[in-house]
């Protein structure tokens, strides 16, 4: 069984009409299609990410899957239950970490906050207390558990957000920007917790929404890219990177050669984005990009050695998910512009015909 299954899901937000338009001021002027006929499935025990620019529809999608919003059409099943008709069963199988640090009671301690939210999960008191202790251990917050929430650092607050989502021992975890506003050490610890503990050991399914593409690349098995409410790619992160013709980035550190000589050699090799800088007194760092395929490095190294240079290091960096993501979105924007132009031309041609 799939943990999450979405079929042709659409969510439209309409501006108020009639009397409501007069009474309530809405930011909407026209109808917005926040989620547009999307379909995908997430397998049990998988870490699945949804990525996209602001306003792509990621949060709306998570809200629908957590029963906070009704879809306009289509179907969404979470743990086999329909989000519209089996709301209670869906709620019993999910945990939501919405990245909202202020969504706690600031004048209660971390433990008291968890105890309150555990009481809403239909848990007997002894089970709840045991679970709170387990969760506090998992998120490494035992020592600060009895401090007031307002005294917590941003990282501790974020850990408690995740801890709260884990209270009910949910099969499926929805994590919206889980490492937002935390330092790199805490972010690393949280990612380790998600990957090793929650998914590796406890076999939970994780549905992640993140702008942080390095995090997505590190954590996720598969990714869905959303753009203007639609899913424009769904597959593994490696497949996604392969969708773009990516350039190879190189960094070369050489000694015993003058800067102008090195520039001359590099320029003869048809390389792009060349930059040269001193890293130490006698060592130069050459950065360049090669998008032509083949082997641009061997002839370059040969020429440098022929001129008496010494190679300290040579690194080829793999294309990053972020690069693929930006190129993908550019392509989608261009396609959307072409579609809009063609539509406008067809409308104007139709008017002339009339």
């Amino acid at each position: 069984m799939n943990a999450i299954e979405v079929r042709n899901l659409t969510k439209k937000f309409s501006p108020p009409r009639g009397l409501m338009k007069f009474i309530s001021k809405s930011p909407l002027k026209n109808e917005i299609v926040a989620v547009d006929r999307i379909s995908f499935a997430v397998e049990e025990g998988e870490i699945f990410a949804v990525a996209g620019p602001n306003g792509a529809g990621k949060t709306t999608l998570i809200k629908i899957l957590c029963t906070l919003l009704f879809p306009s059409s289509g179907k969404a099943l979470v743990n086999g239950h329909d989000v519209q008709t089996e709301e209670e069963k869906v709620k019993a199988s999910v945990g939501l970490s919405a990245g909202e640090e202020r969504s706690f009671y600031w004048r209660l301690t971390g433990r008291e906050n968890l105890a309150f939210f555990a009481s809403l999960q239909n848990m007997p008191k002894t089970t709840a207390n045991k679970r709170i202790t387990e969760v506090l251990h998992q998120i490494s917050l035992e020592d600060a558990a009895d401090n007031m929430f307002y005294s917590y650092s941003a990282g501790m607050k974020q850990k408690l957000v995740i801890g709260r989502a884990l209270l009910s021992n949910p099969k499926i975890l929805f994590l919206d920007e889980p490492t937002k506003s935390v330092d790199p050490v805490t972010a690393h610890a949280l990612r380790k917790l998600i990957r090793n503990k929650l998914v590796g050991e406890q076999k939970r399914t994780v549905f992640l929404a993140s702008h942080h593409l390095e995090e997505v690349e590190e954590l996720c098995d598969r990714i869905a890219v959303m753009h203007q409410g639609r899913i424009t790619f769904c597959g593994t992160t490696d497949d996604f990177k392969r969708t773009i013709r990516s350039s190879d980035h190189y960094i070369l550190e050489v000694a015993n050669i003058m800067e102008d000589k090195l520039a001359e050699i590099a320029n003869h090799k048809n390389l792009a984005d060349i930059s040269i800088a001193y890293v130490e007194d006698s060592c130069l760092r050459l950065k360049f990009v090669s998008g032509n395929g083949g082997d641009p490095v061997s002839p370059l190294l040969r020429d440098i050695l022929d001129k008496g240079g010494a190679i300290h290091s040579c690194i080829k960096s793999r294309p990053k998910l972020e690069e693929a993501f930006i190129k993908h979105l550019d392509k989608m924007d261009q396609r959307a512009n072409i579609d809009a132009t063609e539509e406008a031309q067809m409308v104007s041609a139709g008017n002339i015909k009339k």
Partner: protein, 269 residues
């Protein structure tokens, strides 16, 4: 499980309330000053107001104290549900609570419990200050009748409060129900003065205000010790109000939640 959830809400609100200790203590001091003020106002008025208050025992101090103390339930009933929603929306806790297997109606009902309990506590303090420091006579009080009237009053005002919360859920601010009932009740409900001092045509308008019946019955039960039979008319009217308003409030609330879930405005404020 329901009881445990209700207790969890009470525990949460109690802990937050007592974490502001000074404000907690000052509130009781405020009640003392309010009671003292009305005691001296009643001394100033003397026996001049007695003809208007004969059915309540003729004493303005006791009359106004019951009015102020119990009209607190109107304020709590009208305001607590909508303020609970607004506050949970603005603090970001509503969304988190809504993803648990606890319904929105349970969330707002349990969130209101502490306020009702606190208002009841305030009423006791009002009466205690009145009786111990300023000689208010509570010896005739028919307590079972007073509790029944209190229950009906809370039910009725809570229903109006839930309608008010439904407006808040859809419009976010500017709730006409709270404004309408709040304004008319303070003028026509008989909190500070008997409605007999009003012009005849305005007195008739008071008969449409639930607070008027609640306060009249409460004064008769607490100050004069009226029996259930003697309070029958007011109790029946309060029951009719409650029976009419409760289903309307539940309908409005269901409609508001559905609309908010369609519009995506459940957690916006």
């Amino acid at each position: 499980m329901i009881l445990k959830k209700a207790l969890a809400f009470l525990k949460r609100d109690y802990k937050m309330q007592v974490s502001y200790r000074l404000s907690f203590l000052l509130q009781f001091l405020g009640i003392f000053f309010s009671v003292a003020t009305f005691f001296f106002v009643s001394k100033l008025l003397g026996k001049a107001v007695n003809p208007y208050l004969t059915s309540y025992g003729g004493d303005y101090f006791s009359y106004v104290l019951i009015g102020i103390a119990f009209s607190g339930f109107l304020g709590t009933g009208l305001g607590t549900f909508s303020s609970t929603i607004s506050s949970a929306q603005s603090h970001g806790t509503l969304e988190t609570m809504l993803v648990t297997p606890t319904s929105l109606s349970a969330i707002i009902t349990f969130s209101a419990l502490w306020n009702f309990l606190f208002t009841s506590f305030n009423v006791l303090i009002y009466l205690a200050f009145g009786a111990f420091f300023f000689g208010m006579d509570l010896s005739k009080a028919n307590l079972p009748a007073a509790f029944l009237i209190l229950f009906l009053t809370i039910l009725m005002f809570s229903s109006i409060g839930i309608i008010s919360a439904s407006f808040i859920m859809v419009f976010k601010r500017g709730d006409p129900i709270n404004w309408l009932f709040g304004s008319f009740s303070s003028l026509l409900g008989g909190t500070y003065f008997p409605i007999t001092v009003l012009p005849a045509w305005l007195q008739k308008a008071s008969y449409f205000i639930p607070l008027f019946y609640a306060l009249r019955a409460m004064r008769h039960a607490v100050l004069q010790g009226y029996t259930f039979l003697m309070l029958g008319k007011d109790i029946i009217i309060l029951c009719i109000f409650a029976i009419c308003i409760l289903p309307i409030s539940l309908f409005c609330f269901r409609f508001a939640v559905k609309r908010a879930k369609i519009e995506g405005s459940l957690v916006t404020y």
